[in-house]
Symmetry: C2
Subunit: 313 residues, 2 copies
């Protein structure tokens, strides 16, 4: 039996999986992410025998954080890996002797959610991931929409209400108000103004970190819940504009902060509904949490490789 | 020879054309727009014999301003025609005895520009029309992208830098700064602060109207040129965010204000370039003026009807 392999190279790790044709994970392999683009093909090739055992490669797909040219399989640039314009697909094909698919990590994550997760059956799906920033990807008519290759950088659309400086050099980017760092900023401000409040007590370490705030909210801390709601409200305000443009039928929310669930999704839905254009004629699309967790990117890379191989044959 | 007929029902008029298979207009017919949805099918049917002569209908397409459900051919709601949820396609098919295609006017306009105008060859085209508002439509992979049916309401995405009240009830909508009414507001303010300036002299009638300001700019009035540039700059600022999300390879600018050409397009390109995310890795897409003028919607309705008929056969 030939092996379907999917690989996800993110900010800190390389996660590779062997999946069956339905997308279920049969086996996984983890290692540190390669630090340099020139080491990516080798790092991936090292994972292959671990997952294939003696089986031949049936399909091999890779998702990488950063700008990826899917047509040529080139890693153009990324924030976590040195080197630009790495011909990852060609390098990897020559090492493993098999057809390879390379895409952006957000694209393959959305693809997995569309095929076997929270996006099943959607004809115009938007996936947004809330973490250190706001990433995004689109699956329209069942296919990944890429624009010229780099579509979906939602976090840097200027959809914030305030005018915070963004790390990208611009001001007012959506992610300055509606992602992890904004949550941490709000928590710092709250703790400073209310040093004996419940949140100050709930968070043991300084500086405060997003996951700890999320954990405090899940544990029931009212101040943490209010902060999550405030970020969700800012996110929903921008999302209303996104819906006005894209009119998706489903919005899948993922990412580290997104995985907190209804504590975030409920404020998002309320805020989006209130800020929605022509709401009377055009009801809110379904807004749901992602289903596939941290394996989504690797699963999606494998599933995409399978479909592209089938389309070639 | 069977006739290809395209109809565009806009804010004031009904424009119908007979085109050849290449989209060239052979004959046109104009009348006032119907005031009520119940009169739309009859108004269109009246145009048909005028354009067909004795020939049978080969294809008949209709574009209507407002929310249109293309799948069911329903006119859901529009600002210029009374009545909601009109089954326009079914009504018209039963009158003319031929297959009919119904879509939003912005969609068929963009479709025409893609097939025979400024969007030829684009794989991810965005058309934006600047007039009393900012309308939009998308042609991705050669097909109209509709979302759930109502995608492209760009004017009401909150991409303005200021916080002007919009007629839609929200604040900060893009079109409050970057469309005709914003140009008129800027002109009124300028004339008030500089009643003996060149613009006050160039504009003969009060209240000032957008087309007169455009005409003054084309005639070389420096204050009018500066106002057009100011609106273009506000438009470009929002467009940078749109590009960050959609990453189109071509942006076609149309509409009444858009038709002024380089006096508007140049400031748009400059402003978009300056506000662009990750510009070093991702150059600006091509930004061009529309080519087909006021017939574009009717032409596109006809061309879309031809392609949908062919897909059915």
């Amino acid at each position: 039996m030939s092996a379907i392999i999917g690989v996800d190279i993110g900010g800190t790790k390389l996660l590779a999986v062997r999946i069956d044709s339905a997308g279920s994970v049969a086996q996984e392999y983890r290692t540190d992410k390669p630090d340099d683009g020139s080491m990516m093909a080798t790092a991936i090739a090292n994972a292959v025998p671990e997952l294939c055992g003696g089986d031949p490669i049936g399909a091999l797909g890779v998702g990488v954080a950063g700008l990826v040219d899917h047509k040529t399989g080139t890693f153009v640039w990324g924030p976590h890996v040195d080197g630009v314009n790495v011909s990852l697909r060609d390098e990897l094909e020559s090492v493993v002797g098999s057809r390879v698919t390379v895409d952006n990590d957000a694209n393959v994550t959305a693809f997995a959610e569309h095929r076997i997760g929270a996006g099943r059956g959607s004809s115009a799906m938007l996936m947004l991931t809330l973490g250190t920033g706001i990433g995004g990807a689109m699956v329209f008519g069942g296919e990944i929409y890429r624009g010229r290759g780099f579509a979906g950088e939602f976090g840097h659309a200027r959809l914030a209400r305030g005018d915070h400086q963004c790390e990208c050099g611009q001001r007012g980017c959506w992610e300055t108000e509606a992602a992890g760092p904004a949550l941490e900023r709000l928590a710092r401000e709250l703790i400073e103004s209310d040093p004996h409040g419940s949140l100050a007590g709930a968070l043991e370490t300084r500086p405060v970190a997003g996951p700890a705030i999320s954990a405090a909210a899940v544990a029931g801390d009212p101040q943490a819940i209010a902060l999550i709601a405030q970020v969700g409200e800012a996110f929903g305000h921008g999302l209303a504009s996104v819906i006005t443009m894209f009119d998706p039928d489903r919005i899948v929310i993922g990412g580290g902060l997104g995985s907190i669930g209804e504590l975030l999704l409920d404020p998002i839905r309320r805020s989006t509904g209130a800020a929605r254009y022509a709401g009377a004629h055009n009801p809110l699309p379904t807004i749901v949490g992602a289903e596939l967790g941290e394996h989504a990117g690797a699963i999606g890379a494998g599933l995409l490789a399978v479909e592209e191989r089938a389309a070639d044959e």
